[in-house]
């Protein structure tokens, strides 16, 4: 006998409506819900996964998985110390395998976990691949396109409404155990990540130093030095030298002013030169450079002076230029771009001494 349609509808529709119309949306407590149709079950499970309710730190856990959730929390807790973290990881892995129920989909997860445990054991922690145990974005699919693919939406569709609550809980279990194993694997790599981040932070600080404390570069110098710098597909630090080319800057020439020696403003063009240093952490150490220069002092000395300048530590530069009118004069230069940004104080001190 056909049952009246109106009799069938309320159970499914009511459950769907109750779950879908919650003003707060899904909550992590919904792990133990009993959806009665595939669409509701898949949507609820999808939202729970997106909210990281399934096996994530500090989230509720199915009663049947309490022990393994607690063991994973203990492994991944920042405050916890393990005398042998690898052994603790393998213990959690084996515990997950032990609680994984029988079933075809569960066998797929079991196989993936076993492969992963063997890879870590034989190849080392670098082979730990937590990303493999993350579902496809927005989907209820693990190991997508692999022979071990687990499509939980399809599983729900095939088992609802007849065995919907059971299949829902089975899906929660698979996703939770996958997440717990993922977290355990990620924990193995924590030291690697921290070490890498520290190295990367040093590279970043060196680049900051290169562009703010090394000698400034004009576009044409940046182009030449970029050509000299290797193109790299990985993350690298800055070079430890620069070619100087047609680099204008302000300088001071020490000249005989009648009442004694005095500094006079000059514009210097470094025709070509080379500057090198070494890195200590993010700091520039032992900078040294030399360049051929032309210098303009204006006024009575309208003749261009020719000479050389040496770049020394502490942003000091010292050189000499020759003019037929006044033979050799001393040249004191500070890098122009720095003078008028963060090096102004240096320039003013030089001027002050000249006066």
């Amino acid at each position: 006998m056909r049952r009246p349609v109106g009799f069938l509808l309320p159970a499914t529709v009511l459950a769907t409506a109750l779950l879908a119309s919650s003003p707060l949306g899904a909550q992590c407590d919904d792990l133990s819900a009993s959806p009665t149709d595939a669409a509701t079950a898949a949507s609820l499970l999808g939202e729970l996964e997106s909210l990281r309710c399934l096996g994530s730190p500090g989230k509720p856990c199915l009663d049947s998985l309490e022990a393994i959730c607690a063991a994973t929390d203990a492994l991944t807790n920042d405050d916890a110390t393990h005398s042998d973290p690898a052994a603790a990881f393998f213990a959690v892995g084996e515990a997950i395998l032990a609680v994984l129920p029988p079933g075809e989909k569960e066998d797929h997860l079991r196989l993936e976990i076993r492969r992963s445990l063997v890879a870590v054991q034989e190849e080392g922690e670098a082979e730990a691949g937590p990303a493999r145990f993350r579902p496809a974005p927005g989907e209820l699919v693990l190991f997508r396109t692999e022979t071990t693919e687990i499509d939980l939406e399809r599983l729900l569709a095939g088992n609802c409404p007849a065995a919907c609550p059971q299949t829902y809980r089975r899906s929660v279990t698979i996703l939770t155990l996958s997440a717990l194993y993922r977290r355990s694997l990620a924990e193995l790599l924590e030291d690697d990540r921290e070490r890498f981040l520290a190295g990367l932070a040093t590279l970043d600080a060196r680049w900051e130093t290169y562009f703010t404390q090394a000698r400034s570069q004009y576009p044409w110098e940046l182009a030449v030095n970029s050509i000299r710098f290797r193109r790299s597909s990985v993350l690298v630090g800055p070079p430890s030298d620069q070619v100087i080319l047609l680099h204008p800057s302000l300088a001071l020439e020490l000249v005989d002013g009648g009442d004694g020696e005095e500094f006079q403003d000059a514009v210097v063009l470094e025709l070509a030169g080379y500057h090198r240093w070494s890195w200590k952490g993010a700091a520039i150490k032992r900078p040294l450079g030399i360049a051929a220069v032309a210098s303009w002092r204006g006024g009575a000395a309208d003749e261009v002076g020719w000479g050389a300048i040496a770049h020394l530590p502490r942003s000091w530069s010292l050189g000499a230029v020759y003019r037929s009118a006044d033979d050799l004069t001393l040249l004191v230069s500070a890098d122009l771009a720095k003078l008028f940004t963060n090096g102004r104080g240096v320039y003013e001190r030089v001027i002050g001494r000249g006066e």
Binding site: L24, E127, L189, R195, S226, V234, V236
Partner: protein, 357 residues
């Protein structure tokens, strides 16, 4: 902590707070969908802006100041050759919109020293947050626009493939260790700006979870038919790089967008507003059923190809945008300044006509 979503901006000046219009637009679009809106967007997505613009601005500012200081002193001391040398730096007026956009591209693509500096800064900013997300077992994704697509590509590839500096040690950030969930690119110019490795060969390509050399599980790429920046060497990986990567489940083939709701079809917001863009993005960042088929159909039906603000002027707008396609498909990144000028011409026209820009 919710799903970590990086926003990476494109060309031009992006001072602090640049992400606000994008975040607001995402929140506005998010709230349109019933299941999503039951929780605030901040409960589901942790949106983190990634800026690199300050690096470009600092370099340009330094040059501008050098020009000003040296130029005046060189004039005073009659150092004609020096005056001449620095005078062309005056072209780089920081307030000039087209120059500032062109300069970003030129600095990034033309100067490897700048490029490497940007890559390290962006990779570090991302890696720090990714490490925190991994600790909390949260997935992470990227939404990048324009020049930001190339910078995301280069920085992520470098992050995925680098070793500990000065040592050959694992990093914890290889694709099988820290794979992104979704890489979503709007107006992808990474092929036009590619250096090493070529865009299609990089570790950012999508693929199965945790597979070696597959930086993300899902790659969403959105292009607009009238976006002039997508003419030179468009990012369209038909054979990229093997069957797995071009499998629809990892790299859905999305037809080019055709809507015109603003004259600046290249902008973030113009891309995001289209339901064909934000619906698959939200579904991938949350869960598939978060937006129902019915909601999707209604959103598409309510989104005409021609935006209401344009009225009967859409053909004029389209003509202007056709006119902005000044580059040939075989052109390179060097055509970007000219493209920007042409697009800015269309924008100016729209502003003058009171049309949405």
């Amino acid at each position: 902590m919710p799903h970590l979503l990086f926003l990476v901006h494109g060309m031009g000046a992006h001072p602090d707070g640049w992400e606000q219009p994008v975040v607001s637009k995402l929140a506005e679009l998010y709230d349109r969908y019933e299941a999503l809106s039951r929780k605030p967007i901040a409960d589901r997505l942790s949106i983190v802006p990634i800026g690199y613009d300050a690096i470009f601005r600092e370099i340009l500012k330094e040059w501008a100041e050098a020009n000003e200081e040296i130029g005046s002193k060189a004039d005073e001391l009659e150092a004609g050759q020096v005056s001449q040398l620095v005078s062309w730096l005056q072209q780089g007026d920081l307030d000039d919109f087209a120059w500032s956009h062109a300069a970003d591209v030129l600095l990034y693509r033309g100067f490897s020293l700048v490029r490497e500096r940007v890559k390290v800064a962006v990779a570090l900013a991302m890696a720090r947050d990714i490490a925190v997300a991994i600790e909390a077992d949260e997935p992470w994704s990227v939404l990048a626009h324009s020049l930001g697509t190339a910078i995301t590509h280069d920085s992520l590839h470098a992050l995925f493939t680098s070793a500990i500096p000065s040592a050959d040690l694992p990093t914890g950030f290889a694709p099988h260790q820290a794979q992104a969930n979704v890489v979503c690119t709007l107006a992808n110019v990474s092929r036009a700006l590619q250096t090493v490795p070529p865009a299609y060969d990089s570790a950012v390509k999508p693929g199965p979870p945790g597979a070696g050399g597959r930086g993300c599980q899902l790659f969403l790429n959105f292009a607009h038919k009238l976006d002039p920046f997508l003419v030179p060497e468009p990012f369209d990986p038909i054979v990229w790089p093997d069957g797995k990567s071009t499998d629809e489940v990892f790299f859905p083939r999305i037809p080019r967008l055709e809507h015109i709701h603003r004259v600046d079809v290249h902008s973030w917001l113009h891309y995001l507003e289209h339901p064909r863009v934000h619906i698959p993005l939200f579904r991938a960042l949350t869960w598939k059923a978060a937006i129902t088929q019915q909601e999707e159909a209604e959103a598409l039906a309510a989104f005409p190809t021609i935006g209401p603000g344009l009225g009967n002027r859409w053909q004029d707008a389209k003509d202007r945008l056709d006119g902005a396609q000044v580059a040939e498909p075989a052109a390179t990144w060097k055509s970007f300044p000219a493209i920007w000028d042409a697009l800015e011409g269309a924008r100016e026209w729209a502003r003058g006509e009171g049309l949405p820009v």
